[in-house]
Every structure is written in structure tokens, then in C-alpha cells.
Symmetry: C2
Subunit: 333 residues, 2 copies
Amino acid sequence: MSEPKTVTLESARDLAMAAMRAHGFGEPEATATVEALLEAERDGLPSHGLSRLPFYLDQAASGKVEATAVPRVDVDGAVVRVDAGHGLAFPAVAKGLEVGIEQAREHGLAAVSIARSHHFGVAGSPVETAARQGLMALAFSNAPSAMAPWGGNRPLYGTNPIAFGCPRRDAEPLLIDLSLSKVARGKVMLAKKAGKPIPDDWALDVDGRPTTDPDAAIAGSMVPSGDAKGAALALMVELLTAGLAGSHFGFQASSFFEAEGEAPNTAHLLLLFDPARFSNDFLEHAETLFSAMLEQPGVRLPGERRYRLRREFDGRLRLPGELVAALEEHAAR
Amino acid sequence: MSEPKTVTLESARDLAMAAMRAHGFGEPEATATVEALLEAERDGLPSHGLSRLPFYLDQAASGKVEATAVPRVDVDGAVVRVDAGHGLAFPAVAKGLEVGIEQAREHGLAAVSIARSHHFGVAGSPVETAARQGLMALAFSNAPSAMAPWGGNRPLYGTNPIAFGCPRRDAEPLLIDLSLSKVARGKVMLAKKAGKPIPDDWALDVDGRPTTDPDAAIAGSMVPSGDAKGAALALMVELLTAGLAGSHFGFQASSFFEAEGEAPNTAHLLLLFDPARFSNDFLEHAETLFSAMLEQPGVRLPGERRYRLRREFDGRLRLPGELVAALEEHAAR
């Protein structure tokens, strides 16, 4: 492991953009991707930040990701269909969201279904954008399989995030962003690196039995959050995303980390609601609930941690030395 | 406790209808309610069956439930607003669903927001109806508070069900129906009746500490399914239901069981998707996932247990003697 490097947001942006351009990504697609990754860094979510970019670029080099894909949007009533064309997710999500917000204002609600996509990134990001424009928003994504159906032992579903954003009166949106595994798979990876066992309620081995061995866990499956209920919700997310979009279910999708193979072809669904079309004084009414929550010591509104880290962000990123080196290599390609 | 009584479905229907008519419920409203309760009995869900009716009727007698309420439906784009008028939920849900299905066919998707309502009943029921007509459907409801926000100790949210129905090719719909508490509150009630302790991970006392005492649990709050994640989802459901509808949040809603007080004024949200507007061959694609699930020994599709009990139902109900007596008393009113 090389030493971490401290870089400014601007130089990180320049480096990431150069690396994407070198792989043939168009300017709007590179911008949407790099800005999303930098936002994740800024918000204290480095697992969804620039560390992902070398994987994306290796996949662009192998042709698993279509670098020159331009998302296509097609509107039919309250349904917005987006074809990400086996490019990266971010430009497709951004374009779909823009059109979806217009449609939600017209019809009262809209669904944005994004097909032939890739890693969704921070699920809370598009719902936050929508909530800042006054809409309530839900986001779902599937992902390569990591969780078995309840009672089974072979992974079929991704850890499938659900995110929810709700506008607030004179305050930043309420922001829920969770995945449906009990713990993030990254925690198992960290234990493996550290050579440590994991608690026996995080994962199952290939025979569906609880395991404390990180290797057995990685070969096996993650335990769903809330056991059978989380598995059921992950199945629901598969059907709302890949099912509606006609994309790959988790068990059909290739890895987001390996350069070889066919495109992952995962899918996302955004649901956008214009609260003004449902009832009057939504913002005022919602505050009665938030006030009741905040009256209780120890209760925070979901999203607060992310906003605090964002406020505290000083414009400098501490990146692993290998990551900077990898991006420089991609840029010099 | 008196002996259970075995009655035919027909005689149970006649008795329940007579009891509702005696309280001034209109014929369509009584029919929607009684049929929903009988379906719950038939499907092996007696906690949502006829045992609820005496509570509903006591609330009609006190004026907490508006017996003569007729649900009003108002369509605005893809949004269907239903005012249950402080009547029971079932007629409002049925009418909203009917209009919502039409709107989903027109716009590709529709939302049905039901305000000023009461106990939602079996959340899986409306999504099953929609799925049988070829739509994918989500249902959410709030309820009087039983769960605290994460980190807090005073209940603000109901155990808020989420249900999901998905049409299948040549098979009964896939049906997910879950509440966001770790275990149903009814299990704590049963332990209390039996004078037995409960496991320490089911509920918290009024100070937010795990408890094995059923009384302390009932005074306190239920543990959310998946801990912080379940609490976040319950908050999301409050905002999607009572938030959008302008109805009471869980902590503002009065009990579904006590006859006194103001109307509960809870709310529901149905989301209806026409899969044909999202992609081609949805039914065929979805079967690839269901087949992969069923290849694993021990895996069942959600909803199977309910369908099996329904198939095995012999048209006879075993009802508690007190329940039959209470309904007879209401009918003779």
C-alpha cells in the first residue's frame, strides 16, 4: 500500500475527466460520472467515490462498458424510459431525472425506468436532487447478486438499495438511503483484508449456514436486513427495476468490478411525486412529524450525517496513492 | 372463554352484513368491508378477519367511525385522491383501486392516495387484485404509533405494512405482504395473555431499553425489522401515506381498538404500474427469476402460503363464541 495523497477537489476533477476522455467518454457523460463520484467523496461515502473509476475504465477498455453510449430517453404518459445503452449509470440517471421531474409536474407523479445500466452509485443522490426541487422521490436499483432468496443458499438478488427523499420547509431534504443486506458487503471485504472473523449473523456460506469466515461469506451470500422481510424487499426491488426495464436480474448480471464478460445490464427505478397534487400544506404537515422526532433526545433525521460531512468538507480529498496512480495511468493512455 | 363455533361462510356473511346494516352502513360500504374480512378468514389471517368487526362497530356506535361515509374519488392526472370521510378503509380502497387501475392503464402508472381512513386490513389484498388484472402494485399504510424513531423511545410510527403484487404468466400473482416491526404486536399480546416473557429483541420499554416483559413492551415500542433500516422505512411509509394525504401520522392517530376519541384519520398509498408500458415480454422475463428461485430447495414464492390456505379452505369458519355473540348483539341492536 502506497501512502495516501491529498489533492484538491479541482485537481481530482481534472484528473478523473482526463482519464474518462482518454477512454472515449463524451463530455456530458464524463461530467455526470465524475461529479457523482466527487459528490460521494465530499459526502463521506468513499466506497462510492473515485475508487470506483479505475474499475469503470478497465471495463470501458475491455468493451464491457460502452464508453460512447449516450442515454436515450423516451416519454410515454407518466412513464419515462431511459436506455443507458450499456454505458455508465450516472448520465442515464441524470437525464432521466431531468425529464422525470417535468413529467411529475405534469401528471402529479412519474416513473423513470433505466435499462441496460451499470453501478447506480449513491442511491440517495437522485432523490436528493428531486427533493430539492420540491418533489418526494423514491429510488430503487438492482445489482449483481449477493443475497439468496429466503430459505435458499445461492445468491439471486443484489443488496439492492432503496432511497427516499422528502422536501422540507426551510431545511435540507430528509434523505433515507439503505441497502437491503444486514451489513454492507464491504465490511466482509475489510475483515478478509484484516484476516479477522466476522460476526455469525452477517453472511451465509455456500450451503446457507451462518459463517464467521470472510472467505466463506464472499463465496456464499449476505444476510438480508430483517431476514425474510429484507429478502422479500430485495426480490421486490429486482422486479421494480430489472423486471420492469427488461434488464438483467441480479443473478444474471456480471460483476461491477471485473473487466471481463458481458455488460452487467442492471436497472434502476425512480418514482417522483409532486406533493402539491396530493394535498395542501404538505411541507407544514410533514414538519409536525419531524418536530415530534427531534423532540426525542438521540434522534436524528435521516440524511443529517451526510449533510454534516458535506458542510465540514474542506475541498481536499485524501486518496489512496494507488488510486491516483491508476487514474494517471488511465489518463496517459 | 366460550367454545369456538363453526359457521358456514354464508351464515358468517349474513351475520356480519346484518350487524353493519344495524349500524347504518350503506350496502356497498358494508359489502366491501365484510368481503375483505371474510377473505382474511379464508386466507388464514384471522387477526385481520371478523374479529375486527366488533371494534369497528363499537366505533361506529360512538361516532369515531362515520358509518354513513361514502368514499369520494377525485382524479388529477396520474393521481387519484380518495377521501374515506372517516368511514372504514375497505370501501375507499376498493373504489380508489378501481379508478386507479383505469388511470394506470391510461398513464402507465397511477398513485391512489387514501385520506381520512381507518384500519387498512390485509395490505396484500389490493395489490393482489391489481396483479390479477396485469398490473404490478405497491401498497403502503400507516397506523397508530407502535415504533419509535431510531435512537428514540416514544412510538411515532405504526408498524406500517408494505405490500407488493406482481402478475405471473399462467400462475397466481407473486404477493409480498410485510409489516415493518420485527414481530407482529399480536405476538406480544399472546405472550401477555399466556403470562410468558418475550424474547429480548422484540420490543423496548418506555425508556428505550430491550425488555422481556410483555406489559413493558406494550407500554413501550416494537423493535423495527432490520433495526435502523426498518425504522427508516416506517418513517418513509408515514410520509408516503399520511404525509401525501394530509392525514394523521402514526403518533397523531387514535387507536383502531378503542371506541372513544376522534377518528384515527390514517392514510394509505397504492402505486399501480402497467408493465407493458415499461418493456416488452415482462411476464416472460419475470419467470426467469421465479424459475431460478424455485430451483433452490426450500425456497417458496412469497404468497404461496396464503394461496395454499385459500385452496384448502372448506367454506367453514371456526369463530370464537364471544365473537359470534358480539356480532349477534350488534345485529339485534
